[in-house]
Amino acid sequence: MNEIPGLVKRGSEILRTIEKIGKYSKSELEGLARLTGEIQGHTILSFLDKRHGDAGLYFLKNVLSKHVNEAVKAKEKGKKVILIPFNFPPELIHAFENAVPLTTEMMSTMGALALEGEGEPYWDYAMSLGIPDYVCSSNTTALGSMLTAMKGLEIAPDAMISACPGACDANSKIHEFVAETLNVPEFMLDKMGDGVFDYELYRKLFLNMVREIEEFVGEEIDEDRIVKVIENGNTCTELYWELHELKKHSPCPVPNMFTMLSCGTRFTMWGRDEAVSMFEKLLEVAEKRLKRGEYPAEREIARSLWVYTGYYIDLYDLWLWMEDNGITYLTDILNSGGFPQIYEVFTKEDALEAIIKTSWDYQMTRQMGAENMGLRWTEDFIYLAEDLNANCAIYCGHHACKQSQAVFRILRDGMSSKGIPVLKLDGDAWNRRITSVSVLQEMILDFVQNVVAKKRRRRRGSRR
C-alpha cells in the first residue's frame, strides 16, 4: 500500500495553494473546489461561503496555513517544533523566538475536514500498531500521523507538552506513546481538582516546565515579547466577548462556522497579531450581518448549544446545512469552555502567572479536569444556555469518549431540569465510519422539529 505522508506535510501543501486564492475569481474557485473532491470541495466552499464574508479565507491563509507552515519551516530556521495538546495555551510557545507550537487536535480536525481519505489512513495505521479501536479518534488519528515521522513522512516534533494528566487519560497516554516511540522529551502538567492546593501544584509544575522548555530551546523568554503576547491575548479576549454578546441576538448574526474559526484561532495563534486581526474580521462580518438582519433561513427555529465538540467530518452538510434549516450553532465546549479573561501584565512574572491561570481554566481542562466533571460541565452549560438564550443542547464527541459518556446522564438530567432538552448523537466528530452525515441530519431534524419547535399535528381526536 502506498505510504501516505503525515497530516502536517499534506496539509501544508494544500494550504500553500489556498494562500494564492485571492487571485482567482469566484467561479474559478468553485471549479478548484470541485476538483479537490466532493467532501474536500464542500469544505473549501464552506469556508468561502458568502455568509462568512472574507473571514473563512482569512482563517485558512493567516491562521491555519501560518500555523502549519511555520512548523514545517521551523527546521530550516533551526527552531524547535513543540507539539501541544488541545488544552494548552499556545501563547506560551509564541513567547519564544526559537520555538513554534503545533497543535495535535488541529491536525486531526484538519485531516477529517479537508484531506482525501480524511483522517482514516492514520487511524488505520494506529490500528496496525495495535492501538485499540475504542480510543478517542481525534487522538488516534493525530498519533497515527505523527508516527509516520518514523518513516520520514511527517514533520517530527522536537519536544512535546502534555497538559492532559488529570483531564484526559487517553490524550496523555497517546502523547506518552508518541514521545516514547519517537524518543523526544515530554513536558507534563497535572491537574488534580479545583482547590487552592491543586492550583498551587499546577502552578509549580507549570513554572518548572517553563524552565525546562527554556533550557531545551536554549533561550530565556524575553519580557517584552511575552508581555506583548499577553496584550494581544487581551485584545482577542475583548473581541471574543463582543462576539459572544452578538450571539444573544435572534436570529443569531454570528454564522455557525465562526465557532470553529474562533476556537481554531484560540488553539493555534492566540497571542499573535494574526489572531487579533482574525477576531476583528469575525466581529466585522457579524456586525454587518446584524445590521442587515441577515440569516440564511426564514426563521431561527433552534438555538443550539453543543455541549461537547462539534462535527468535523463535513462542515457543509452539517454546520451550513443547520443554518439553512434555521438551526443556530451558538457555541461548544471547545470554543467557550475556557471563559477567557483579561490580565494586566507588566513583567515576565506577571505574564507567566496570567498564562498559568489561563491554562488552568482552559477549555475542557476546566470541565474534564474538574473534581466532579459531571457537575462542572452541567453548571457551565446551564450558565451558557441562560446567557445565550439557548433552547436546546446537542451532544457529540468521540463515540467512546469515556469522560463525557460516563457523566452524560448528569448533564442531561441537569439541563432537562432547566427545561433545555438535550439530543445525544451517536456519531464520531472525527470519523464518519461511525455514523453517516445523513443519519445525523435526520436525528437533528427529528429533534428540532418535534422536541424543540414542538411541531404539533392538528389532531382530530375522533377515536379517543
Binding site: G130, P165, E176, M192, L205, N372, Q405, I410
Partner: protein
C-alpha cells in the same frame, strides 16, 4: 483450611470478618485503588475495603448512568453500589484512579449521594512537587476521617500500622516466590490472596496468609506465564486459563503482585512524606502514571526473569484506554526483546466469552512449544 477460606472471602463481598469488625463498632470505607494508604485508616480501626466487581456481569441499572463505552469493571462495581451490595460500607474514598473511575464516582454521587465520600487526590507524575502535594493529601485524608468518624489519628499509630503493612508485604513477597522456580501455588490462589487482603483487617489477613502458605500444593502446568495489564480480580477466569496449562506464576497487575512488590519499608522518616513516596512510587506499576513507561517495562521484564516465565499475557478490559495503549507498546517492545506476548482484550466477568479466550491461550501455549 486457610486457603479455601481465602477463596471464600475473595468470592464474597461482606465476609464474616467484616461483619464481626462492624459489630464491634468499627467502620469500613470503600475505595478502588492501591494508592489508598491503608495504615492511615487502620490506625483508627477503619477498614479500607477495595471495591471490586465480584464477577458480576449484569450491569443493567449501572448502564442507565454510565455508558456502554465505559469499562465493564467500573460498570459492574457501580451496579453493586446501586443495588445495595455495598451498603455495609460507612463511606467511600474517591481515590483518583483513572477517568472511568472518576466518572463512576460522579454517577455514584448523582444517583446515591453517599453521606461520606472524600476525594483523595493522587498525582499522575512523580517528582518533588507532586510528592509534597501527595504528602499533604494524605494529611487531608486523615483529617477527613477524623471529622467524619470523630476520632483522632496519631502519627505513632500510623507508624505502628505502617510496620504491620511492611510485615504483610514481606510475607506476600515470600508467598509469591513460592510460585516462581518450582511453583507450589496456582495464580488463582495468588489473586484470591490479594483480593482477600483488600477485604480484611490486617491482623486477620496476616494469620490467614501464614497458614495458607503452609498449604503448598503440587501444581501441574505446561508453561509458566506472567500476567500484566488492567485490574483483574476474576479468579474464575484465571482458573480456566490455568486449567489449560498456562500457569500464572507472577502478575504485575494491581489485583496481584503490582499491589505490593515495590512497596518501600518504613525507614523512620517523617511519616506522611514516607507514605507519599511509598504509595506514589509503587503506583508507577499503573499505566495511569505518565512518564513512567520504562519503569513498568522493566518491572515486567525483571519479574519475568525472576519467575522464569515462558511468556507474558497482556490483558485489558475493553474501553480501558490506559492499558489498551500501554499493551500495544509493551507488545512491540517485549517481543523485540525476545519475550513472547499474547494480548487479550476482554469484557469483565465474561464467562460467556471463554471460548474466544481459550483459543488464544491454547495457541499461545503451542507457540511456546509447551
Amino acid at each position: 483450611m486457610s486457603l479455601s477460606k481465602i477463596h471464600e472471602i475473595a468470592s464474597t463481598l461482606e465476609n464474616e470478618y467484616v461483619e464481626k469488625w462492624r459489630s464491634e463498632g468499627n467502620a469500613v470505607v470503600g475505595h478502588a485503588c492501591i494508592a489508598m494508604p491503608k495504615e492511615v485508616a487502620e490506625a483508627v480501626r477503619i477498614l479500607p475495603f477495595r471495591l471490586r466487581g465480584a464477577g458480576n456481569a449484569d450491569t443493567s441499572t449501572a448502564d442507565s448512568y454510565l455508558s456502554r463505552y465505559n469499562c465493564s469493571l467500573c460498570r459492574s462495581c457501580l451496579e453493586l453500589v446501586l443495588n445495595g451490595s455495598y451498603d455495609f460500607l460507612d463511606g467511600l474514598v474517591r481515590v483518583r484512579g483513572c477517568d472511568h473511575w472518576m466518572g463512576t464516582f460522579d454517577e455514584v454521587q448523582h444517583a446515591k449521594n453517599p453521606e461520606f465520600m472524600h476525594y483523595f487526590k493522587v498525582p499522575h507524575l512523580v517528582n518533588g512537587d507532586t510528592l509534597e502535594f501527595f504528602s499533604n493529601e494524605i494529611k487531608r485524608l486523615k483529617e477527613a476521617f477524623e471529622n467524619r468518624f470523630g476520632v483522632e489519628i496519631t502519627e505513632d499509630e500510623i507508624v505502628r500500622y505502617a510496620k504491620v503493612q511492611d510485615e504483610i508485604n514481606e510475607k506476600m513477597r515470600e508467598f509469591y516466590r513460592l510460585r516462581f522456580k518450582k511453583p507450589r501455588f496456582y495464580g488463582s490462589d495468588a489473586i484470591a490472596v490479594v483480593v482477600a487482603r483488600e477485604s480484611l483487617p490486617s491482623e486477620v489477613f496476616l494469620q490467614l496468609l501464614e497458614s495458607a502458605m503452609a498449604e503448598k500444593k503440587k501444581v501441574d502446568f505446561r508453561a509458566k506465564v506472567l500476567l500484566a495489564g488492567s485490574p483483574l480480580d476474576e479468579i474464575e477466569l484465571i482458573r480456566k486459563i490455568e486449567e489449560m496449562g498456562a500457569l500464572i506464576v507472577a502478575e504485575t497487575t494491581c489485583f496481584g503482585g503490582g499491589s505490593f512488590w515495590n512497596m518501600a519499608e518504613y525507614d523512620g522518616s517523617e511519616i506522611y512524606d514516607f507514605l507519599a513516596a511509598k504509595y506514589l512510587n509503587n503506583l508507577k506499576i499503573c499505566a495511569r502514571m505518565f512518564g513512567e513507561y520504562a519503569f513498568r517495562k522493566n518491572f515486567i521484564k525483571s519479574m519475568a526473569v525472576e519467575a522464569e516465565v515462558d511468556g507474558v499475557i497482556l490483558q485489558h478490559n475493553k474501553f480501558c484506554d490506559l492499558f489498551g495503549i500501554e499493551n500495544a507498546k509493551l507488545r512491540m517492545d517485549l517481543e523485540k526483546d525476545g519475550i513472547p506476548v499474547l494480548v487479550l482484550e476482554k469484557e469483565y466477568a465474561s464467562t460467556a466469552d471463554i471460548g474466544r479466550i481459550k483459543t488464544r491461550v491454547q495457541a499461545f501455549l503451542e507457540r511456546l512449544k509447551r
